[in-house]
Structure formats: C-alpha cells, structure tokens
C-alpha cells in the first residue's frame, strides 16, 4: 500500500471522553499500517501530552498506586511516538499553543511541538485526508 499522510484534529480533554481512546487507537493503527500521522491537539486535547499527569492509588478500587497503574495520556502519546520511530514513519504531534497557555499545560513530554491553527491548515493541506474528532 502506498504510504499516505493522515491528519487528526483532537479536541477532548484527557479523562473525559471515550473519543480520546478511540482517536489514539486510530492513530496507533495508522502508524502500524505504515502511514505518517499528524495530530493537531486543540482546546482540551492540548493537555494530552502534559508531562505532570500523575498516577494515584485508588481506595475505592482497593488498589495501591502500583496496582492501579492508572493510564496517563502522556504515556500513550509517548508510546505512539516510540511506535512511529520503530515503524520508520512520522508522528508530528502539534499542540495548539494558545490552548496550552490557557490551561497551563506547557510542560510536555519530549517529541511533541507547539504550534497553532496555521499548522493545522498546512498539515491538512499536505495530507491525504483529515479526521476531525471534536468535543460534543
């Protein structure tokens, strides 16, 4: 199959919506199938890569911090970046800078970058197709 670039625009904040997991799974599958992927993380999604997200114990589940092993979206994105490198494809993750500033989530994991709406437009222009997954 010919290698194609796909762009995803995400909008939901971490820990609020099933759409986030759906989006990340679609991105993972695209990378596994050898496609370059661009992500524009807009509004709440700008916090997906915030490196200070932390795990916690969960007394209601009766589990310690280690047992709970709570998912963190910045680790999922890091896993996506590692997968892209292993598959020799590109994952360009762009956080909307204004959205980052509004939320104070500028401390990100390595491998993602700050950008803005013009980046989204250019990424979409250069891609085979764009999937927008907005907040509802």
């Amino acid at each position: 199959m010919k290698r194609k670039s796909l762009t995803f625009a995400l909008m939901d904040a971490p820990f609020e919506s099933a759409r986030t997991v759906t989006a990340i799974r679609l991105i993972e599958l695209s990378l596994r199938r050898g496609h370059d992927v661009n992500v524009f993380a807009y509004e709440g999604a700008a916090a997906l890569t915030f490196s200070r997200q932390s795990q916690h114990p969960n007394a209601t589940h009766g589990r310690t911090l280690e047992e709970e092993d709570h998912p963190l979206t910045h680790r999922w994105v890091a896993a996506l970046l590692e997968l892209a490198a292993a598959n020799d494809v590109k994952l360009d993750w762009v956080n909307c800078g204004l959205c980052v500033d509004e939320r104070g989530v500028g401390e990100t994991i390595p491998g993602v970058r700050r950008g803005g709406p013009p980046d989204f437009f250019k990424l979409a222009l250069d891609s085979f197709n764009t999937l927008v997954i907005p907040t509802r």
Partner: protein, 126 residues
C-alpha cells in the same frame, strides 16, 4: 442527606479512568459514610450486564493492567448496602433481559421516577 445519582451517559471515559466516573464517585462517597444511591438510565443500563468484559487498551508497547469493570463495581456497591435502580424500558429497548443482569439491581418503570425522586433530598443528573 440522601442523594440519588442519575447516570445516563455510558462508557464516557471508562478506559482512561478504569471505571465509570459517577459509579466511582458514588462508591467513594458511600465508603465515606454518605447516603448515596444510583439510578441507571439510557445507555448506562448496560453497566448491569454481568457477562460484559473490557479488553485492556494497548497503545504501542503500553498495555493496560486494569480494564474497567462496571458490572463488578456495581456489584461491590450493592454489597456495601447501596441501591442501584435501572429503568426497565431502557433495558427492553436494548434487548437486555433480567437473567443478563448482575444480582440485586432494582428494576423500575419510568412512571415510578417521580415517586423515587421524592425519596431523596438531592437528585443529581450527570
């Protein structure tokens, strides 16, 4: 104060949180001594289906250890004295029958909701 939590939006962020956030909130409040109960309506009635199983999320090399278990969480909520009400019409609309459900959930019709709400000091619709 006696409070009823009404849950209608199902599987909202269950993979990320490893539970339903409102079922968790009700369980946490109850563990702390609060008199809170649950009403499931709409898509959330599926939380009572005993045979459901969540597959751990795998993202690259990251594999989830504790996928959500809403039916188990509700079972534990009931075991601690909490009540879980489920709208019978919403079950029927989805083809879910009584033998599919975890034990001791309370089925009621939509027509019984006003009387149910009257029994609580607060009704919180999530």
């Amino acid at each position: 104060m006696k409070a009823l939590n009404v849950v209608s939006c199902a599987y909202r962020a269950t993979s990320e949180e490893q539970d339903d956030t409102i079922v968790w909130l009700a369980g946490t409040l109850r563990n702390g001594g609060a008199d809170v109960e649950l009403l499931l309506r709409g898509n959330s009635v599926n939380y009572c289906v005993a045979a459901q199983r969540s597959v751990p999320v795998e993202i690259g090399a990251s594999v989830q250890r504790n996928p959500p278990d809403p039916a188990g969480d509700l079972t534990r909520f009931i075991a601690k004295g909490g009540r879980v009400y489920v709208i019978a019409e919403d079950l029927a609309a989805r083809g879910i029958i009584a033998p599919d459900l975890i034990p001791d959930v309370q089925l009621l019709g939509r027509g019984a909701l006003p009387a149910l709400y009257e029994r609580y000091d607060r009704v919180w619709s999530w």
